[in-house]
């Protein structure tokens, strides 16, 4: 799981253009959205949905489904681990 978490952090930094960040800078359990942590917004959420499909073959039906999945990097990794088809 830790390997997947690191892999996800690298992909998140790349896809969301988080300039100057490294995987070590991201707290695996911190909320990704909202005012703290990475402070991602609605467009970032949509990009993560595309990431899930492109890299892991997981298709989320709508933007609302992302809320639970993207709570933190760890919840995202757990979801990917369970549902990946790639």
């Amino acid at each position: 799981m830790e390997e997947l978490i690191t892999e996800l952090k690298k992909e998140i930094i790349d896809v969301l253009n988080l300039e100057g960040m490294t995987p070590e800078d991201i707290d695996s359990d911190a909320p990704m959205f909202g005012d703290e942590g990475l402070a991602l917004d609605s467009i970032d959420a949509l990009e993560l949905i595309v990431l899930l499909e492109k890299n892991y073959g997981i298709k989320l039906a709508n933007a609302a489904a992302g809320k639970e999945v993207f709570k933190s990097v760890r919840t995202m990794a757990e979801y990917v681990s369970k549902n990946r088809t790639k």
Partner: protein, 398 residues
């Protein structure tokens, strides 16, 4: 009254049909034009849209343009709509001294560029379409077709483009730069923006449901519409009858997010309030609001909240006509301006189709069945990505 701005001509083409009469009949019959994609060549056949029911070839025939002449779909629709407006205002027979053409579009010639993109990169085929790609190329094609314009420009502010074209044209007349302006917007469907809106997850897989609790998104549409603007005195001197007055307008920036509106609808609130101030009217003077009402959760709730902030206890009759025409993006402001003026002239409020129950976020209800009533002042809203929010008011001439 002499200095007032008036509308002396208008023209329209959309999924509802060609011209004002087709449009009026469809509105009164409560007949939506949203349905399965038939013209655009895409694999997304499950996405309902509103398409203009004319091929490019049919439009060229209608315009007496040789089939061999390269004109893309966006300017073709513009020519048909502008022709109706220009003829009504007698601009060709009785030309004002200086006329501007202010055209709103974002897609431009893209529906051809995306078709021939690989050719552009790999071979000499279809290279002539490259020059037709720019938004400005389409504007020039329309201007050249009529040959009456002294100044042209293209506005590209997404869904508020057409109202902004109207504002720019009005400002140019008010500041004495031109004597008349043909203003509006045009947009055809393209795979580019169909896929784009789809990836933003804001499309409805059924006909949209503006202001309704079960709304899930918008339907894209295509079309074009133009108004002719000039000062009342100039119209009188040219011997043309004004249709109505352009009483006020405003544009403000929401300054919140690239695509979402702020939770309290600040940009829309400022735009509506600004238009009222420009027109020197009170909120209670407005008889009908033709809303932006796209059918997305974010737009409908924030526009709704902004309406309650402007109009307080006494919310005027309002509706969105996007379930009729789809969201025609850069043309929406002028397509809906023509609809607003038809409502004004014919004294009716178009129905807000597909409404089932009120949203949770704001306690307001649109007009759900066509309503006959006297209309003196109508407000028309268009809100674009980038927080670019515009509103204008048309009034009957006393």
């Amino acid at each position: 009254m002499a200095d007032k701005l008036v509308v002396t001509g208008m023209g329209i083409i959309s999924g509802l049909g060609v011209g004002k009469n087709d449009t009026l009949q469809a509105l009164l019959a409560e007949k939506s034009s949203v349905g399965a994609i038939t013209h655009l060549q895409t694999t997304h056949t499950d996405i309902p849209v509103s398409e203009v029911q004319m091929t490019d070839e049919e439009m060229k025939t209608e315009l007496h343009i040789p089939q061999s002449q390269l004109v893309t779909r966006t300017p073709l629709m513009a020519m048909i709509a502008a022709k109706e407006a220009i003829q009504q205002a007698h601009l060709q027979e009785n030309k004002p001294k200086r006329i501007a053409f202010i055209n709103g579009t974002t897609v431009g010639g893209m529906e051809k560029s995306e078709q021939f993109y690989l050719d552009f990169l790999g071979n000499e085929n279809h290279k002539e379409f490259i020059a037709a790609h720019d938004c400005g190329a389409g504007t020039n094609a329309v201007a050249d077709y009529f040959g009456i314009f002294d100044m042209t420009t293209t506005i590209s502010t997404a869904c508020s483009s057409a109202i902004n074209a109207l504002i720019i044209g009005a400002n140019l007349i008010r500041t004495g730069k031109v004597d008349a302006a043909v203003v509006g917007g045009t947009e055809c469907l393209s795979k580019f923006h169909l896929n784009g809106f789809n990836t933003l997850m804001i499309l409805d897989r059924e006909t949209c449901k503006p202001f309704s609790k079960n709304h899930v998104g918008l339907n894209l549409g295509e079309g074009a519409a133009y108004l002719v603007l000039e000062k009342a005195k100039a119209a009188q001197q040219r011997g043309v009858q004004p249709l109505c007055e352009l009483n006020g307008y405003a544009n403000f920036c929401d300054a919140f997010h690239q695509t979402a509106t702020s939770p309290n609808g600040q940009g829309p609130f400022l735009a509506m309030q600004g238009a009222l101030a420009d027109a020197n009217l009170q909120p209670s003077d407005i008889d009908y609001i033709s809303c932006h009402g796209t059918g997305t959760g974010n737009n409908d709730s924030t526009e709704g909240i902004a309406i309650t902030r402007v109009f307080g206890e006494h919310i005027p009759d309002f509706s969105s006509t996007k379930a009729f025409t789809g969201h025609t993006t850069s043309a929406a402001g002028s397509v809906e301006a023509v609809i607003s003026i038809l409502a004004l002239q014919n004294n009716f409020v178009p129905a807000n189709l597909n409404f089932s129950e009120k949203m949770d976020e704001v306690d307001i209800m649109p007009v759900t069945k066509t309503k006959r009533k006297e209309i003196q002042h109508v407000m028309n809203n268009s809100f674009g990505f980038g927080g670019n929010d515009s509103s204008c008011i048309f009034s009957k001439i006393k």
